[in-house]
């Protein structure tokens, strides 16, 4: 076997391989036995856990530590390399996918729609794309993995079949196509500029000596920012987000807000790391996009009365915070960006999980509307506490210490690079963000007024939430509490 074109180390690839194999197994099992719905979910969870275990070896590696495979013979470059930040993102993607599956766990009482295997395998496929892209180091696998993480979500949004779902899916599909076009062009320009099919610092350094090729590389990076901007919901590429979130089933909206964002940031960080030695050619673009995303996202979120749309606009605002550190050409920027994303994903998943639990207990109409949360603290104190913790973490206020530490982490490289304007814009947006989330929290904590008790239908059926949903709420809440007490648990994943 020494004649193999590339050396493959399956153990290193496990985070990406496990969900991909899981997807295939689910489809095969579905052909064999169509009635088994829960089995599909069990297979999927097992494959996600196996993938998560596969990331452990890469977590918390010191700076410079990397696990690589698919290397060209003769000590050549590797097509797959995962450092601590990549491993941390992979772990988060796998766990977030697990929460998504828990939220969409099949209900025995309802008739099967026949699409269980499709949903599960699509979720696993997209997750495999998300974990693969975090380690992809050559243009081909980078591009393919990123699209693998995106295209299944279009189908997942559309599967519900409702009119709003179709329009959301179309918005998402159009975005995905435009984004793919931009990224393919960016890849071509990258190859033109560097003459290398690898996205590595070594390839980018080749451009330094040749001023005529430098503008091509800058253009390539700008196109990458635009293409990824669609996937991360950065302004001005954000327009699909509220449509798709609102139209999609709730678990799929959680998937879009979690796994898809991790995939997009993973892809962006690869390029950012590669161009780090070149200084700051496209970084001003990132600062502008980040400032616009935070501001517009927060202002629009303040005006929403649908909680899913509020969370969608909050994603736009938080995406601005996620890429903000990258505007600083500093070694801490990649770490800060990854850390902020993980804190955001955890808090957002908890918020989605609570909304999902309320959809099951109080009906979709009430759980998706902000006014339906009036006095939640009296009706469902535990869910209200979990939601409050998630919202405060997103707002960055204690007791959501994780969110606050994430904001400190994200601001550090910006301040260190003396981007004062960016820092002040971020400070103003911290205030707007607090206004957004406290607006929701105020409704949750409101004491039930006598007159609303009269109007509210008292005979609301006392449904209980699905146990799997409650497990998802519990897991996310415990994770958020533990990481708020000791945020180092999250920061340490991404290396020191």
């Amino acid at each position: 076997m020494s004649q193999a074109v590339v050396a493959v180390n399956a153990g290193v690839l496990l985070p990406a391989l496990a969900p991909a194999i899981g997807a295939a197994v689910v489809l095969v099992v579905d052909v064999a036995a169509q009635r088994l719905r829960r089995t599909h979910y069990m297979i999927a969870l097992v494959s996600l856990v196996v993938g998560a275990v596969g990331t452990f070896a890469g977590l918390g590696m010191v700076a410079g530590g990397v696990r690589q495979t698919l290397c060209l013979p003769g000590g050549g470059q590797c097509m797959y390399a995962a450092d601590a930040v990549a491993s941390g993102l992979q772990l988060a993607a796998l766990l977030a996918a697990g929460v998504t599956l828990l939220l969409s766990w099949p209900d025995d009482k309802k008739q099967s729609s026949g699409s269980t295997a499709v949903i599960v395998s699509l979720v696993l496929t997209a997750t495999a794309g998300a974990t693969a892209v975090a380690g992809a180091r050559d243009l081909g696998s980078w591009l393919v993995a990123l699209e693998l993480a995106t295209l299944p979500t279009v189908a997942l949004v559309a599967l519900r079949g409702a009119r709003s779902a179709i329009s959301g899916a179309i918005a998402l599909l159009t975005t995905a196509l435009v984004s793919f076009g931009l990224l393919a062009l960016a890849a071509a320009l990258w190859f033109t500029a560097t003459g290398s099919g690898f996205i590595t610092p070594a390839a980018a350094l080749a451009v330094i000596d040749d001023p005529s090729r430098r503008p091509i590389l800058v253009l390539a990076v700008a196109l990458v920012v635009a293409g990824i901007g669609f996937k991360l919901s950065l302004v001005p590429f954000h327009a699909w987000t509220p449509e798709a979130y609102d139209g999609a089933p709730l678990p799929i909206a959680a998937f879009l807000a979690g796994v898809s964002k991790i995939a997009a940031l993973g892809a962006l960080l690869i390029v950012i790391r590669a161009i780090a030695p070149l200084g700051a050619p496209a970084l001003t673009t990132i600062a502008i996009v980040a400032a616009a995303s935070m501001t517009l996202g927060n202002i629009m979120a303040l005006r929403q009365n649908s909680v899913v749309r509020l969370l969608a606009w909050s994603t736009v605002a938080q995406a601005g915070w996620v890429v903000m550190p990258l505007a600083a050409a500093s070694s801490a920027a990649v770490f800060a960006s990854g850390a902020y994303l993980l804190a955001y994903v955890l808090a957002t998943l908890l918020a989605f999980a609570v909304v999902a639990a309320l959809v099951q207990t109080r009906g979709a109409a009430r759980a998706r509307d902000l006014s339906g949360y009036h006095g939640l603290v009296h009706d469902h104190p535990v869910l209200a506490a979990a939601l409050g913790l998630a919202l405060l973490s997103l707002a960055g206020l204690p007791p959501g210490v994780l969110g606050l530490v994430a904001k400190v982490t994200a601001l550090r490289p910006v301040v260190a690079s003396e981007l004062w304007l960016m820092a002040v814009i971020a400070a103003v947006n911290a205030v707007l963000g607090v206004a957004v989330y406290l607006r929701w929290l105020r409704v949750v904590m409101a004491t039930a007024e006598p007159e609303t008790d009269m109007t509210a239908p008292v005979a609301a059926p006392a449904l209980s939430a699905h146990p799997a949903t409650l497990v998802a709420v519990g897991l996310a809440a415990v994770a958020l509490v533990v990481t708020s007490v000791n945020p180092q648990l999250i920061l340490g994943l991404l290396g020191s």
Binding site: L397, P398, P399, K407, V408, A427, V434, L438, T447
Partner: protein, 495 residues
């Protein structure tokens, strides 16, 4: 261990109270009060022990960010810690006379405990980032206190007041965070003692000025410094008595304390350059607050405006750059803590009796119907106008004196103008204090009659009245505690 226990008790008690009780059984009110009282007394005992033994705590917390749990006590924080712990007991005792309404009592007492925890952690922390995190801890409990337990006569006003409080403060603290990160990055350490010892070495004038400006604006919102004070009057008007007391007596002090720790000590050159502007804003606050008090008709709002004026004196003292000025500022901090606590307890009780705090309505004269409340009111406002022999005198007198003879690098003529204007401010303070006394204390109306202070309310008022007198006669208790650490900072400043 003492120190960590002093932080852990209010944190855990507060969290436990909030998470547990929701039942509206009558007894849960008394139970919550009792638990809270025991916790506050235990915390106070531990704080006193901590202040005496002065332990140091240092644990690794976030190695990725270089953030450590570093806590210790020095002369500058000791009086503030004692004040916080004492008022932590006082608000609980006072609430026995005036049970909270608007939500579950366990939430109310839990929030009081968490505010106390945040304030103690702020005054104890020696790591700049932990200082910031502690600073933020008080926000949500205070927001809950105002938005749920505040004056429910006007719900939109209550929502506006609580929202304004939290948004202004978040803006201030995020700007402060930017300043802290810049300071930590350029100085290479987050340890407040190391920052103070470095005296801004290695930072050029413009860097110091940028960082100092960010920190002064950020902390100035909390103080509150004119023109950032507009959140304070509505917050005080709406907040329940305990909330008003904690807000005025403790939370505002976190702003001036932060300026000593984060600006004056580590950034002497930058602060020196900005001090005239800072002092001018403080003096405008003195006059602005005083003039507002002359015409204000809501008693709680009036005391809020007088807080703006009193904090202006603290700012003036801080800006002078001299040992006397810094001593004056720290003393005036404590003095305002005691006096504002006394007045807010008093006015909170009066508002319960009267049904509103409107000065335009004719009331029974306090001197006639409730001599105890009348005595406390006279002492409180006499201290507020700076009568010699009472606690309010020393801080403000020394602040004006230090502004008249500032440090060598301050513009002397300008500072003297400010000192003269501040003196005018004390005349205005005399005017509004006597106006209030004339309106509600003197006279012979005896109806509608109300009960005099007794029980918990009277004991709290009596202790505070005694503190006003004792600290007024013997200011050395505080001044001697702070003097050693203050002279360390100012010797650095004047170099």
């Amino acid at each position: 261990m003492l120190l960590l226990a002093a932080l852990a008790i209010p944190a855990l008690t507060g969290t436990a109270l909030i998470l547990t009780g929701r039942d509206s059984v009558r007894s849960s009110e008394a139970n919550a009060n009792l638990v809270s009282l025991v916790a506050s007394v235990a915390t106070a005992a531990l704080v006193v022990a901590t202040v005496i033994t002065r332990p140091k705590v240092d644990y690794q917390w976030l190695p990725s960010l270089g953030v450590r749990w570093q806590f210790s006590v020095d002369g500058i924080s000791a009086p503030l810690l004692i004040l916080t712990a004492a008022l932590g007991i006082a608000v609980v005792v006072h609430a026995r006379s005036y049970p909270p309404h608007g939500g579950s009592p366990t939430t109310f007492y839990g929030c009081l405990q968490l505010v106390e925890f945040g304030a103690l952690a702020t005054f104890l922390s020696r790591d700049a980032v932990v200082f910031f995190l502690s600073f933020e801890v008080v926000l949500i409990p205070m927001w809950v206190l105002i938005s749920r337990f505040g004056d429910s006569h006007d719900l939109p006003a209550r929502a506006d007041a609580s929202g304004r409080f939290v948004l202004y403060t978040v803006l201030g603290s995020t700007l402060m965070l930017v300043g802290i990160l810049a300071l930590v990055h350029s100085a290479g350490t987050a340890n407040l003692d190391a920052l103070a010892a470095a005296r801004g070495a290695g930072l050029d004038r413009s860097t110091q000025m940028v960082i100092a400006a960010l920190l002064l604006v950020g902390l100035g919102i909390k103080i509150p410094l004119w023109p950032f004070h507009t959140w304070l009057p509505p917050a005080h008007t709406i907040a329940p008595t305990a909330g008003s007391v904690l807000l005025a007596a403790i939370l505002l002090k976190m702003g001036t304390y932060g300026i000593v720790r984060l600006v004056i000590a580590p950034l002497p050159i930058g602060f020196g350059a900005l001090a005239p502007v800072f002092a001018a804003a403080g003096v405008i606050g003195i006059l602005w607050g005083g003039l507002a008090c002359l015409v204000e008709t809501d008693l709680k709002r009036l005391i809020a405006y007088s807080s703006v004026a009193h904090m202006g004196f603290v700012v003036l003292g801080l800006s002078s750059g001299t040992t006397a000025g810094l001593q004056a500022a720290l003393f005036a901090n404590i003095a305002h803590g005691v006096v504002s606590a006394l007045l807010f307890f008093l006015v909170g009780g009066l508002k319960e009796r009267w049904g509103s705090a409107d000065l335009a309505t004719a009331r029974a004269a306090l001197r006639e119907v409730s001599p105890r409340l009348g005595l406390a009111l006279v002492v409180g406002f006499a201290a507020s106008l700076g009568l010699p022999g009472l606690v309010g005198f020393w801080g403000e007198f020394l602040a004006m004196y230090s502004a008249w003879s500032p440090a060598a690098d301050r513009p002397e003529g300008f500072m003297r103008v400010l000192a003269v204007l501040a003196v005018t401010g004390t005349a205005v303070a005399a005017g509004y204090s006597l106006r209030v006394l004339r309106l509600i204390w003197s006279g012979d109306r005896t109806s509608p009659a109300h009960v005099d202070a007794h029980g918990g309310e009277w004991s709290v008022l009596a202790v505070l009245v005694a503190s006003v007198l004792v600290l007024g006669v013997a200011p050395g208790i505080v001044l001697n505690t702070t003097s050693k650490d203050v002279s360390v900072i100012t010797s650095e400043v004047s170099r």
